[in-house]
Symmetry: C2
Subunit: 485 residues, 2 copies
């Protein structure tokens, strides 16, 4: 931070900030972004929105005009605090070069605070140019750790009582989705018969052989209601109460059924695994849960491809210890089969701002250079941020990027019909279509210096995955898919 | 607006909002955007920032969760007003379906208000889903016109007095850059010998044969100071006082020299041309100014290309009545030669948020389907928003896109050195470079369904421009350039 010269513009920023989120999710340490005035910050908003829900510790540095220059309303002037407020847990604008060391220390501390999920952990430090020009001082003070103290015995006792009754669901998120926490939840399931779910879009979850098989809460509210229908208690282990992603006419926002008791065991930042262990021990659970076996690999698919067959190919082939990054759609649909097949870390879209899957993969690959990384992307979402491919090529990151090319922005069609519009007109339909002309993902990838192929069959996909996994640097596979079934 | 169903996500939004700005600049009517919650709005911020300075009338509709759903903090929830505040002159969130008609009317009126340039004309109307689901009523009330009343005689008299003294500069912007206003300024120049300048980055200016040759104020503050050094008076005709784009140590922010009297003739929204005519008449100016002749076309260039040679090729070839859209850099450098050669409308970056040149060209082409459109883009800026090429291909817009491929993000290198850092380290230098791997613009364009060629000589550029102008739909020319000279 000392004497930082803050002129770096936010090139390809949409990719850049999401990459920081991916890095932070894998490392668990604060991750730093450097944006340029309000316009550069604006380019990062959609991504900071996801990072906020992921509770990724982001020290978000935003360069500003020199303090004395702001009131002249030069072209790039804007009210940076206004724009930052919507995504930041903490905002400060430095006022002197001497104070910047302390400001930086406070920003790091704020990024590590145990904030609620709705607030997140983005600490925005605005740096006027005249502060950046001067000499800074070393910061003082110790940065606080982000783990809260373990819960009091109250949450544990209450959870134990709830779990002893019939039809309990244990809902995991945050620190409840580490390998250790998952297996503590599995111990509880073994002794009580409770069901164990992760939230719909966790920032990071571990799964695969050797771990208890945690299911994922579905996306659509009626599916969540079906999961919860018979539950008499819901124990929140790092999670919040499930709510509908969107509101729908006649559907409730909070999806917890009447008569289902909600018990909070721990917040996501806390040592959820330790609290789960305490609960398991009080229940006299066996030392080990029932875990996914090591023989869950399917055979590779053949013939024409749909979303399920792509998941099958991935489950057949991806290496142990991979990192999988998705927006949602096909990538999300691959989760259950991957989950049975191979040990991996899975990174999701957290707060719904699409276009994150590729850039988050970039950050994860930088954070974990020894782990294979797979970005599973819908074509609609991937178009937001396809610039990540150049960064991946430049940094020679081993990312296999699978684009589910169904040439539609199908979530729009889906949500449109869910509003009761069953006759979709020609103009509306054209807004959901990615044809006329088709996007040529192979050409796009090569434009950014990444090698790429297009495939339409299981055999070709398997060959492409093998080629991609052997390649140095990013490799894109455009998979022509025609449906989910 | 009635019964609008607001589920359209903001696909390729960075391009989308900028396109609205281009449309509004060419049509002069309100232009409407439809964004999806805070994340979608975030993707549009950088572009609304430019639209604000352009004073483009934007009715910025932002879909939100149903009112009753917001406090559940579902994933896409954010404080939309916070994010919108930094770029909006007016913000309202609808509260009932019945009130939406009136809300829409008020938003249109707000977008047409004569706001100061620092405030702009973006009217953000937030539409909760439960309002969108209901039946709306027709709006009441008449939308106000955006032209203010002409200035009082005071500004005119003061301007006449200032212009009668030696060394006056007439600075034009906004409605001062229509063809009619420019030639009124030319009448004044003819009778007084004053110099006439446009601001550095006007939203739209007309130039070419038949018009008085207005120069553009330079970008760097020392160059602006040189222009203003001898001026005894500065008459603002739709413009603000010139300020430095960035602050630099030891340089003033306001670039008007001591002893130079500043006179405001008219604000940018006013009928600047009418006020200029009044001044010209009081000065007994001749009826016609000295205008650019019709024989200003240079011969086409040959051999290796630099920025100047690209401008020469364009000036040799582009059709009458073209629209030229740029970020800055090479496109901006082409202005003086184009200005002498061919009648055209020129659209600039207004408020410094790069990546606008291509998308603004899209909006201009939609607004003016009978006019040829040229997007002159630096490779660094064009990478922000290259998705515009797909929209242009889909809508079959006749845009010839010239990418100045010098494979550097050279404004960063320039500004870095201006801070006094003359030894640029390897890491810093790599941040300014667009090589390793090179971006292949031809491949990128083809990925989006746009035809494209790469050229390295004047002969090839001329052939490519002829091919592009004859093509149906967009055509991209990657020009390998090695410098400005």
């Amino acid at each position: 931070m000392a004497s930082a010269i803050c002129v770096v513009c936010s090139v390809y920023l949409k990719a850049y900030v999401r990459a920081a989120d991916g890095y932070g999710r894998m490392r668990g340490t604060p991750t730093c972004t450097l944006l340029h005035l309000g316009a550069g910050l604006g380019n990062g908003i959609a991504n900071l929105h996801n990072a906020r829900r992921a509770s990724t510790a982001v020290v978000n540095l935003v360069g500003d005009h020199a303090g004395y220059h702001v009131h002249y309303d030069a072209p790039l002037t804007s009210n940076i605090k206004d724009i930052a407020r919507g995504v930041s847990a903490w905002i400060r604008s430095s006022t002197t070069a001497e104070g910047m060391g302390q400001d930086a220390r406070d920003a790091v501390a704020a990024s590590l605070a145990a904030n609620p999920e709705s607030t997140g952990n983005v600490a925005t430090l605005i740096i006027p140019a005249d502060c950046a020009w001067g000499d800074a001082h070393a910061p003082s003070g110790v940065v606080i750790d982000k783990h809260w103290a373990p819960m009091t015995q109250d949450g544990v006792t209450e959870s134990v009582q709830a779990l002893r009754s019939a039809d309990a669901i244990l809902l995991l998120d945050g620190n409840g989705l580490t390998a250790a926490a998952i297996n503590q939840a599995g111990r509880i399931a073994k002794v009580t018969g409770c069901r164990v779910y992760a939230t719909t879009f966790p920032a990071r979850s571990e799964s695969g052989p050797g771990l208890y098989p945690v299911q994922r809460m579905p996306y659509f509210p009626e599916d969540v209601e079906a999961v919860l229908a018979s539950a008499k208690s819901l124990i929140l282990a790092g999670a919040k109460e499930p709510v509908s992603f969107f509101a729908y006419r006649g559907k409730p926002s909070n999806l917890v059924p009447l008569g289902c008791e909600v018990v909070r065991l721990a917040h996501k930042h806390q040592d959820v695994g330790a609290d789960l262990a305490r609960v398991a021990n009080m229940l006299d659970a066996p030392a080990e849960p029932d875990v996914v076996g090591i023989d869950g690999r399917p055979s590779p698919p053949s013939g024409p491809l749909n979303t399920a067959a792509v998941g099958q190919a991935l489950a057949a082939l991806i290496p142990e210890n991979s990192i999988v990054s998705t927006d949602s759609g096909g990538g999300g649909a691959a989760f259950p089969i991957l989950h049975q097949a191979v040990r991996h870390s899975f990174l999701t879209i957290t707060r719904g701002s699409i276009g994150q899957g590729g850039p988050v993969a970039v950050g994860a690959a930088v954070a974990c250079p020894d782990r294979p990384v797979f970005a599973l992307l819908g074509d609609g979402g991937a178009l937001y941020t396809n610039q990540f491919l150049w960064t991946a090529a430049r940094e020679k990151l081993n990312i296999v990027c699978v684009v589910y090319s169904n040439r539609t922005y199908s979530i729009l069609d889906t949500e449109y019909r869910r509003l009761g519009v069953n006759t979709v007109g020609e103009i509306a339909a054209s807004r959901f279509s990615l044809t006329d002309p088709d996007i040529d993902w192979v050409s796009l990838a090569k434009g950014y210096g990444a090698d790429a192929v297009q495939v339409a069959t299981g055999e070709a996909l398997v060959a492409a995955l093998e080629q991609g996994m052997a390649a140095q640097g990013p490799f894109l596979i455009e998979v022509l898919v025609s449906g989910r079934a």
